[in-house]
């Protein structure tokens, strides 16, 4: 593909290795040629490199596919997923999962981004509903200004919530930022 088509999170093959574009900076001096500076993360060893390209140059876009998978369980720092139709299992490391590890419930269906037969990235819905399992007890019964407190959801993830949230409530969390969005249902 042309370098001008590269965006943040594009997947490229450089010198045989698979990279994710972490940052793509477009610079154009005066009336000159555009220069693209990429910060790239090697998706297998996590190493970060910087590369500069000029407009008109081409890069090798990695061919990616998606498949439906189920999250099974965690084993040390590996998270094990399974293809829902072939039952083939794919591990994904904690590092490659990033923030998404906080929203995985056992048995949950996800879309897996694949490079050949290698699992690369889990695609989650933008928000996900999670049950609150622990929370600090609010001392004030009615607060004029909403205050936040720490709550823990069923996946063990700790999230800032409003003070009215109780154990048993189901809350909506943004899987891109990890932020609390709203209360979905009230627990008993």
């Amino acid at each position: 593909m042309e370098i001008s088509g590269v965006r943040k999170n594009s997947k490229l093959i450089i010198d045989g290795a698979l990279y994710n574009v972490e940052e793509a900076e477009f610079a154009k001096p005066g009336k000159g040629r555009a220069v693209y500076r990429l910060r790239l993360k090697n998706l297998r060893d996590g190493k970060v490199i910087d590369r500069t390209y000029r407009s008109g140059e081409s890069v090798d876009e990695a061919s990616m596919s998606t498949e439906e998978e189920q999250y099974l369980y965690r084993e040390g720092s590996q998270y094990i997923f399974m293809n829902s139709s072939t039952y083939e299992q794919h591990p994904l490391s904690e590092e490659m999962l990033g923030i998404k590890k906080n929203f995985l419930k056992e048995g949950m269906e996800v879309v897996m981004l694949m490079h050949g037969d290698e699992a690369i990235e889990v695609q989650l819905p933008i928000t996900i509903n999670l049950k609150v399992t622990e929370t600090e007890i609010s001392t004030k019964t009615a607060t004029v200004t909403p205050q936040n407190k720490a709550s823990v959801v069923e996946t063990g993830y700790r999230v800032d919530t409003p003070s009215f949230i109780k154990v048993g409530d189901v809350i909506k969390v943004d899987t891109r930022t990890g932020n609390y969005v709203e209360r979905v249902t009230t627990g008993k």
Partner: protein
């Protein structure tokens, strides 16, 4: 900000910058009107625009969206308008990044009898006026760096800047590709952080619509202004030689056809008007970037309500 901010929140966050933007427009208008500049308007859609090797235009049916208002403004100068300025919407395909949006606002002004250095004087005064009117005094703070913008700004030739930062002389050697990459990687990061910089006297090959120096035809009377790492404006002593301008345009048209496979028309009406173009200087200044500087915004998205990605 984060990538996932919702629209009402994002627009509320931008409100102070958008208000300041309007204030800056007003200060600019006052600055030029006081000096008897006429504010003009020229077409956004035109049958021909200046052919530029690295500026890709958008097409609108059989017309081109303006990538700059330069040609029409010069036609006004040729017809006797001595001092004109314009805020103009410009369009350049594929230019998107922290400092770019494909649709942006350019401020251009032209002065009869002026050369590029006189136009740089105007730019210094204009920036100082904006800082003063916004209550910032003589210096602004941009991305944690205090920048003293009081005139006159330090000037350095392109030749000196390249020899110092990149170790080669772009006037003696022509390496267009290296010129651009070295600019981004070596020259720009090496410019003073606490003062604006004016780069002067570009290689003749990059003259575009600028006049060559009478005593040194290897360089063009072209100047660029940089503040806080932002490329802010590009000034010329305007080329008033119709034959030379036609030759440069024809070369650019050939290059564009070779490299992009795009056929661009020769701007005939403009070329005809150049025969009557007086000695003059002019400049194109990126208004969005100017607003970024005065709002301490690190990306163009923070001074526009709707960019390419949020429109």
């Amino acid at each position: 900000m984060n990538d996932f901010e919702d629209e009402p929140k994002r627009l509320a966050r931008l409100a102070p910058n958008l208000k300041r933007r309007v204030l800056i427009y007003r200060i600019i208008r006052d600055f030029f009107q006081e000096q008897d500049f006429l504010e003009v308007e020229t077409p956004v859609r035109a049958p021909a625009i200046a052919p530029e090797q690295f500026i890709v235009p958008f097409q609108s049916e059989d017309r081109y969206l303006a990538a700059s208002p330069e040609l029409h403004m010069k036609r006004l100068l040729s017809a006797g308008y001595d001092r004109i300025f314009q805020f103009s919407r410009c369009f350049r395909k594929g230019e998107r990044g922290r400092w770019h949006n494909p649709e942006f606002v350019m401020l251009e002004w032209y002065r009869k009898g002026a050369d590029y250095l006189k136009i740089i004087d105007d730019t210094e005064k204009l920036a100082a006026r904006i800082a003063e009117k916004l209550g910032m005094g003589k210096s602004i703070k941009y991305q944690g760096q205090k920048i003293d913008i009081s005139p006159p700004w330090p000037r350095t030739t392109v030749q000196d800047a390249y020899v110092k930062a990149a170790g080669w002389d772009p006037i003696k050697e022509s390496k267009p590709e290296k010129f651009d990459t070295d600019f981004v990687e070596k020259v720009l990061p090496g410019l003073a952080k606490d003062r604006p910089t004016v780069l002067l006297d570009y290689p003749a090959a990059q003259a575009s619509l600028a006049k060559l120096k009478a005593d040194n035809p290897l360089v063009a009377e072209r100047a660029e202004v940089f503040i806080g790492g932002l490329e802010l404006a590009n000034a010329y002593s305007e080329l008033a030689d119709a034959g030379e301008q036609t030759k440069r345009f024809k070369e650019a048209i050939e290059q564009i056809e070779r490299e992009r496979g795009q056929q661009m028309p020769l701007p005939e009406k403009f070329l005809k008007s150049v025969e009557n173009l007086p000695e003059c200087g002019g400049i194109a200044l990126g208004v969005d970037r100017l607003v970024m500087l005065f709002c301490d915004a690190d990306k163009i998205d923070d001074v526009m309500a709707f960019t390419e990605d949020s429109a």
